[in-house]
Each structure stands twice: as structure tokens, then as C-alpha cells.
């Protein structure tokens, strides 16, 4: 029996779940806006209390590593890494885009996971449903929403759009003809998906030492970008 704590803070929502062998015992979703650091630890404490799980019983910690809000990712990834280190258990990092796509695996269509990257840009990746999950068919990327829209249009395939980057770029995505919006329920990475995906990885021993888990930023810092342009 493996008990697992799952955390995702890549969007304005804080998502936490506790799972046992891939089954969710409880989950908490908080619209934390940008107050991830305040909300996360109390949410974990509440969930432990309600599920009767003590942290020292955990066999693994799973975390959504983004791409997404930098500040949110730092809070979630740091918390997961330090807990894994202190409890001496493996830490499983899963892309937050995978956690948006996974709940849509039964639809049969191509899935585009799209998270808000501000400045009219989005973090995105595409997936095909396969038995037991979804399969990534692109890279994890960041770019203007209109570029992704043009690409999807050129692909000419039916596609389900999910993630908070769709609503925040409504004008761009509204122009797509062969796309349906999965809607509010699929706006943020799912902690349930994280429990399911990470449990499989723990079973296959696909995890890292806590120190090796890092946020997936996809973007250099502004200073590095400016420096690159100067050279």
C-alpha cells in the first residue's frame, strides 16, 4: 500500500490530494489567486486530518511542475521537495499540462492543454487519448495564443481545448471552427489526475531524488532575455 500526497500550484488554484494506491482518499481545491504560500500548508494539514493520514505514513510526494505561474510553482515544488527530503520518500514531478489533459482521456479526440502564460501567450501541449491515459504528441511549449490557434487550424483535426489559457484568450480561440471548449471544470490541473499518473510512475520506479525535481519554466527570466538580445 502506497500513500501519496499530490500538489499542484501551477495556476491561481491550489490543488491538493491524498491517494492510496492511485485512488483518491480526499482532495482540496482552493481558488488561492496568488496566495499559494498562505493556502498550501493549511490545505495539506486539513486533508491529513480529514483522511486520517499522517504525513510520516506517506510513500511518495507528487507535484505538478508546470509550466505555469512562476510564484505558484516555486511554492508547490519547494514544498514537495522539502517534504520528500524530510520524509525520505521519492518525489514524482509531472507536467501540469498533463494534469489538464488526463481527465479528458475518454473523449476520443485530440486534446490541447492550454495554460495562461500572461501577455497573450500560453503554455501548451497536445495529447491523444490512449488506453489508460493520454499520450503527449508535441513538446511543452510557450508562445502567442494566436500562433497555437493557427497551428490547430492548419492541422484540420477536431480538438478539445482545456485549461485557463483558453478563457483568458477567448478572442483567439473563439475563431477556431473544429474545436470545443472543455469548460470551467477542466480549467486547472487536476490533483486526482496527479495521484493516478504518479502512482503508476512510483510502481515503475520512475521518480527522482527530491533535489532533482525542478519547475518547468519554459521561459528564461526577463533579464536573461534582455541579456540575450544585447548579445
Amino acid at each position: 500500500m502506497t500513500l501519496m500526497l499530490a500538489i499542484d500550484t501551477a495556476t491561481p488554484r491550489v490543488a491538493v490530494a491524498i491517494g492510496e494506491d492511485g485512488r483518491v482518499l480526499g482532495s482540496v481545491y482552493l481558488s488561492a489567486r496568488r496566495r499559494h504560500a498562505e493556502a498550501l500548508v493549511p490545505a495539506i494539514a486539513y486533508l491529513c486530518e480529514q483522511t486520517g493520514v499522517e504525513l510520516r505514513q506517506l510513500g511518495a510526494v507528487a507535484v505538478g511542475v508546470g509550466p505555469g505561474l512562476f510564484t505558484g510553482l516555486r511554492v508547490g515544488v519547494t514544498t514537495a521537495k522539502i517534504m520528500g527530503q524530510a520524509l525520505e520518500v521519492p518525489v514524482v514531478g509531472v507536467s501540469s499540462l498533463d494534469l489538464v489533459a488526463h481527465p479528458l482521456r475518454f473523449g476520443g479526440q485530440m486534446i490541447a492543454a492550454v495554460l495562461d502564460a500572461r501577455r497573450h501567450e500560453v503554455f501548451h501541449a497536445r495529447y491523444r487519448p490512449v488506453s489508460g491515459g493520454v499520450q503527449l504528441v508535441t513538446e511543452y511549449r510557450v508562445g502567442p495564443a494566436v500562433e497555437l490557434v493557427a497551428e490547430l487550424e492548419a492541422g484540420g483535426e477536431d480538438v478539445v481545448l482545456a485549461g485557463d489559457g483558453v478563457a483568458s484568450n477567448r478572442a483567439a480561440f473563439g475563431a477556431l471552427e473544429r474545436a470545443v471548449d472543455a469548460g470551467r471544470e477542466f480549467e486547472a490541473p487536476s490533483a486526482t489526475a496527479l495521484v493516478e499518473i504518479a502512482d503508476g510512475r512510483v510502481g515503475r520506479e520512475e521518480f527522482s531524488a527530491p533535489w532533482d525535481v525542478a519547475p518547468l519554466y519554459l521561459r528564461a527570466s526577463d533579464a536573461e532575455l534582455a541579456w540575450g538580445n544585447r548579445r
Binding site: R35, H36, A37, E38, A39, L40, V41, P42, I44, A45, L55, R56, F70, T71, R74, V75, V77, T78, T79, K81, I82, M83, Q85, A86, L87, P210, W211, A214, P215, Y217, S221, D222, A223, E224, W227
Partner: protein, 338 residues
């Protein structure tokens, strides 16, 4: 006012700027370990601290640094009595890393969490080497981020009597060093070069005389103007004269503040407190006015986590633990604690 709960072993974490640090301190005074991982090389090519780069580095470094601090102190998590982190002032994204790490450790261990004010921690750095120090103290806190003149009346009771109206003292060193082509960080570069120059070669302005507040932007402009008008002046003379102007301003105001408050003890803190000319002048001031002078070792003047653990010991006794829903406060001031 001495905590009577007995010696508590506290793990402190500090990530407010560009140092990732962790330390184990017993009873607010006895340093068992103090690990500081400086990111100065990461920021050098930008000539200053880049917040996003600092935040990313903290995420990578915090785990290893905490592990090293515990190992160096031969302490396990379960030998600790509390876990503390700096909650501000500082860079928001950087502070979040240390606070998240400390709260996660507090949750795992069931130990109290203590959120510590960075400025207050600089004051408590003095007790790490001088355990019998007694307030009132006149403290000059000078670094790249802060320039404060504080009267510490008692534990937890502070009066800020002066602060900079523009640049921080350390910022002035960085900007002038960059202009003179001496590299980053500027403080140590100017400190190294100044002894080769004449501090009286150029009479740069001493800003705001007779006032408790500091100003350095006019001084920086004066250095730039002088160097343009007299390009042949040896760089060492410019560096020495600039440093003398900064030190004069700092020491004159410290002397006035100590007089005004009747504080018998002078204390330096912050990264600029490592400056050898400033240390020498404050020593002279103490000797001339019959005051005790306390100059912490440079390792405890610059940002470190031992000072966080030291301040946390007093705070835990005076106000108790910090709730786990506490966040960071990037613009926190130095308030009254108890």
C-alpha cells in the same frame, strides 16, 4: 527579559535576496552550523541581483543547504525545537521559497514555525558572538538593500531614527564600482582598492548634515561628474574619496543617534558593515566617546540564517509561533514585536 523555556534548538532559513542560507542555533546565541550558498556569480554579469534568477536558484539550493546545515550541526530534524524562516522584507519570489520550505518542515515534524523579520534578524546577529550584550544599542544597519539607523531600546522594541531617502549604502557602492569599472559586488571591490588611494584627494559631498536620514544619489552623481571632468584622476583616489564620503555620512549620523538616545553601545550590521574603513571609524568613535563597540564578524553581517534562528528564539518566547497560513511580506518594516 530572557526566555526561560531553556535552550531551544532552532533551524533558521534565509532566502530574502541572493543568499540561500540555513543554520542551527541553540538558545539564540550558540551557532551549531551556518551554511550560506551565495549566488553572487549568477548575478555578476547583470551588475545586480535579478529577482527571477535569485528565486529559481533558491528552489534548487534550499534542499541541499538545509541538509548541509543539519549535517554540519550533527542534528536531526527531531532534535529541533522550532523551524524559522525570513518572511520579509526582501524579494517576494525569493522569500516564498524559504517560507515554503520552513512551513513544510514544520508540518512534517509538528514543530512550531516562526516567521522572522529580516531587519530584526540583522540586529540579533550581534548576540551570536556577544551573548551578554544588553540593550539599549545604537545599530547602523547598512547593506545593498537597507540603510537604517535603529535604536534598540529593549528586546522587541526598536525605534528607526534614520533611513535612506534614495539609494541604499550598498547600492551606492555597486553603482560607483560599476561606473569605475571595478566589477560586482562593488563594496568589496572599492574596499580593496581604496587603501591605494588618497581619501582626501577629492572632497565629495556629505549629504544631509545634521539630519538623521541618509542620501547617496547625489554622491554618486558627484563621482560621475568628477570622473568626467578630471579623467586623469587615479581610480584609487576616486574610490578612496568616495568611500570616505560614505563612511563620514554613516558614522556622523550613528554618533548623533547614539548621543540622542543615550545608547552606551554601538553595533554594526548588514553587508556594508564588512567594509574595513567603516569598521575602523566606528571603532575610533567608540574609543573617543567611551562607548562599547560591537562589530560582528563579516559572516554574520552579511545575510545569513544564524541571525534568523537567533531572532526566532526571542520571538518564540515573546509572541509564540507564527500560524501556518502566514505568507511573506516583501515590504515589512521594523515594528515593535512585544
Amino acid at each position: 527579559m530572557t526566555p526561560d523555556a531553556g535552550p531551544a534548538t532552532i533551524l533558521g532559513v534565509e532566502t530574502s535576496c541572493d543568499e540561500t542560507a540555513a543554520a542551527v542555533v541553540v538558545g539564540g546565541r550558540s551557532v551549531r552550523s551556518s551554511i550560506v550558498s551565495s549566488q553572487v556569480d549568477l548575478h555578476a554579469r547583470f551588475g545586480g541581483v535579478v529577482p527571477e534568477i535569485a528565486s529559481r536558484a533558491h528552489v534548487e539550493l534550499i534542499g541541499p543547504v538545509v541538509a548541509e546545515a543539519l549535517a554540519a550541526a550533527s542534528t536531526g530534524l527531531h532534535d529541533l525545537d522550532a523551524i524559522a524562516a525570513c518572511r520579509g522584507p526582501g524579494l517576494a519570489g525569493a522569500l516564498l521559497v524559504g517560507v515554503s520550505a520552513a512551513k513544510a518542515l514544520a508540518l512534517v515534524t509538528g514543530l512550531p514555525y516562526v516567521g522572522v523579520n529580516h531587519l530584526e534578524a540583522h540586529l540579533y546577529a550581534a548576540w551570536l558572538e556577544e551573548p551578554d550584550l544588553e540593550p539599549p544599542l545604537a545599530v547602523l544597519l547598512v547593506s545593498g538593500g537597507h540603510t537604517l539607523l535603529v535604536i534598540m531600546e529593549a528586546h522587541g522594541r526598536y525605534r528607526v531614527v534614520g533611513q535612506t531617502v534614495d539609494d541604499a549604502a550598498g547600492e551606492a557602492f555597486d553603482k560607483v564600482a560599476r561606473f569605475l569599472g571595478l566589477g560586482y559586488p562593488g563594496g568589496p571591490a572599492i574596499d580593496r582598492l581604496a587603501p591605494d588611494g588618497d581619501p582626501e584627494a577629492i572632497r565629495f559631498p556629505r549629504a544631509m548634515p545634521g539630519e538623521p536620514n541618509f542620501s547617496f544619489s547625489g554622491l554618486k552623481t558627484a563621482v560621475v561628474n568628477h570622473a568626467r571632468q578630471h579623467p586623469d584622476t587615479p581610480v584609487a583616489d576616486v574610490a578612496a574619496s568616495f568611500q570616505a564620503a560614505v563612511v563620514d555620512q554613516l558614522v556622523d549620523k550613528l554618533a548623533a543617534a547614539a548621543d540622542g538616545a543615550g545608547a552606551p553601545t554601538l553595533v554594526l550590521g548588514g553587508g556594508v558593515a564588512a567594509n574595513s574603513a567603516l569598521r575602523a571609524r566606528v571603532g575610533t568613535l567608540g574609543a573617543a566617546t567611551g562607548r562599547d563597540v560591537f562589530l560582528p564578524a563579516p559572516a554574520f553581517c552579511t545575510d545569513n540564517a544564524a541571525m534568523i534562528a537567533a531572532a526566532a528564539w526571542w520571538r518564540l518566547e515573546a509572541v509564540g509561533p507564527t500560524p501556518l497560513d502566514d505568507g511573506v511580506d516583501p515590504t515589512a518594516g521594523l515594528g515593535v514585536v512585544a
